[in-house]
């Protein structure tokens, strides 16, 4: 089947809506139930940090690679963060290899926003030689199986990988940088995760499956940091939310994120590295 046929049968859409009237979902969850999350870190040896995330049947992998490069001219003492998400064909018959499409780019940018706004990493601590050399942190995400809510899964994977990344220590002597064998944790200052809601008719559910996404009118993703502050928001889809709905979801998302945050790995300490 190709992309064209990935329309959900009309009767299934009807069923989803009818079930929601009774507060039920196809997979037996209640509207505000989040699926099981399983996170495994350190799965890729060639990466400095990595994480494999199972969100229900959605499977996503993140790899962190560190590189020393020239800092951007407007931030000479800072390192840089580059997030790149790829929805590859392994995950679904609707994906193709090729230059990033808008879905790939949206996920990349929202994950980046969550990490950056929460100041999860203190990029200032990643500068090496002012104006000349700094650590560039690449977070690359690959979808491996798509059953909805790739955004939350990618966020969990990216954050988990960063929290457990082993950064090489460097020794600077004047103009020379020596990369040592010794490792240290990343400068972690915060944590973040996202909760994504889907609006189907007048009902809102959290953590939609693929079929629920096909049936939804609009989507709202809210990212929180470890203190429960909202650090990023993204509305998606061609429907709408009322301001009251948004505030309500902000509250629900906070509740859900407090529980979800326990699934994240604890940041590495210097003796664990």
């Amino acid at each position: 089947m190709s992309k064209i046929e990935h329309v959900i049968p009309i009767i299934k859409q009807k069923t989803i809506r009818t079930l929601l009237e009774k507060g039920e979902r196809l997979d037996g969850r209640k509207p505000m139930d989040y699926r099981d999350v399983r996170i495994e870190v350190g799965v890729i040896d060639s990466a400095e940090g990595s994480a494999l995330v199972n969100l229900g049947n959605t499977l996503v992998i993140a790899g962190v690679k560190l590189n020393i490069a020239t800092p951007f001219p407007d931030s000479p003492t800072s390192g840089a963060l580059i997030v790149n998400a790829e929805l590859i064909p392994l995950a679904s018959p609707i994906f193709e290899y090729g230059p990033p499409k808008e879905e790939d780019i949206e996920i990349s940018r929202v994950v980046d926003r969550g990490i950056r706004s929460s100041k999860l990493i203190d990029l200032e601590k990643l500068g090496i030689i002012t104006g000349r050399r700094a650590w560039f942190v690449y977070v690359d995400l690959y979808a491996l199986n798509h059953d909805g809510n790739l955004l939350d899964a990618c966020m969990l994977a990216a954050v988990s990988a960063l929290l457990t990344t082993k950064k090489p220590k460097v020794h600077v002597e004047g103009d020379e940088i020596r990369i040592l064998d010794e490792k240290e944790p990343m400068p972690i200052e915060n944590t973040t995760l996202s909760t994504t809601f889907a609006k189907i008719g007048e009902y809102v559910i959290v953590d939609p499956t693929y079929e629920e996404e096909l049936a939804m009118d609009a989507r709202l993703t809210i990212c929180y940091d470890k203190d429960g502050r909202i650090v990023a928001i993204q509305k998606g889809g061609s429907g709408y939310f009322t301001p009251e709905e948004i505030i309500d979801l902000g509250r629900r998302g906070l509740e859900i994120s407090r529980k979800l945050i326990n699934k994240l790995p604890t940041p590495l300490s210097s003796n664990e590295v």
């Binding site: 060639s46 990595s50 499977l59 992998i61 790899g63 392994l90 290899y97 491996l144």
Partner: protein
């Protein structure tokens, strides 16, 4: 500039402790991806590769379809974090060539005439690379195709043989690939004694080529058994209890 590394020590052991005719630890898993029609995962030494198969399905754009058989399309890609120095997400010429030779290694095994005007798409993603990725990919792709129910004459198993410190060695790892004297990836349909992939770079005499093919044959037999084990274990769960019509 190649620095001289001693790849085989005085006791005949390689850098990872193996003997010249030893395979790296190898593990296959079939049916790991739920949305694909067929899928498989392989770990061979430090290689970690996932393969998805879709099809047979319709060809887009339609004019590319063949009236007499299915197309086989293969895409081999490496994740940016699969190698020590982050790789650009854009596929390079290496990946494009490898995609082609993998396709040509698998094609002779498939009975494509059964599905005219369709395509069978094989997607390979290397999550971690450690030498011999195209060979591991072929072995895993063969399993993914079997998992998808694509009819075939035989499974295809592959391994890279090479030369290090004058000795012919089996299943090159990354170091041996980079610093050795030759690299020869070989794929076969073992039951039919048919070689479907053969490449070479380095320097081999005719005798060495013969030795290499023999050694590859040995390694491929072992890989073939492991492939079959993985397929059996996947399907035994299904057939164990129920009568299948």
């Amino acid at each position: 500039m190649k620095t001289k590394i001693r790849l085989i020590d005085d006791s005949g052991k390689r850098v990872d402790g193996r003997l010249p005719d030893e395979l790296r630890p190898l593990r296959f898993e079939v049916g790991i991806l739920k949305n694909a029609d067929g899928s498989a995962y392989v770990e061979q030494g430090g290689n970690k590769i996932a393969v998805a198969v879709y099809g047979p399905r319709e060809v887009h754009p339609r004019h590319q379809a063949r009236p007499d058989r299915a197309l086989l399309r293969t895409k081999y890609r490496m994740a940016t974090f699969s190698v020590k120095d982050r790789k650009s997400p854009t596929p390079g010429r290496r990946e494009i060539e490898i995609s082609k030779v993998i396709r040509e290694a698998l094609e002779p095994a498939l009975l494509l005439e059964k599905f005219p005007r369709t395509t069978i798409d094989v997607f390979i993603e290397v999550l971690q690379a450690d030498g011999g990725t195209r060979c591991a990919s072929i072995s895993a792709a063969s399993l993914a195709l079997a998992d998808a129910g694509i009819p075939m004459r035989d499974l295809v198993a592959a391994v890279a043989v090479g030369k290090a410190d004058g000795r012919i060695i089996l299943d090159l790892n990354h170091l041996e690939d980079q610093y050795g004297e030759g690299d020869m990836p070989i794929a076969m349909m073992p039951s039919l004694n048919a070689v479907t992939l053969l490449q070479c770079d380095g320097s081999f005499t005719l005798e060495e080529l013969e030795k290499a093919l023999k050694l590859a044959r040995k390694g491929i037999s072992t890989i073939y058994e492991k492939q079959k084990e993985a397929l059996r274990s996947r399907y035994l769960d299904i057939t164990k209890t129920y009568k299948v019509v």
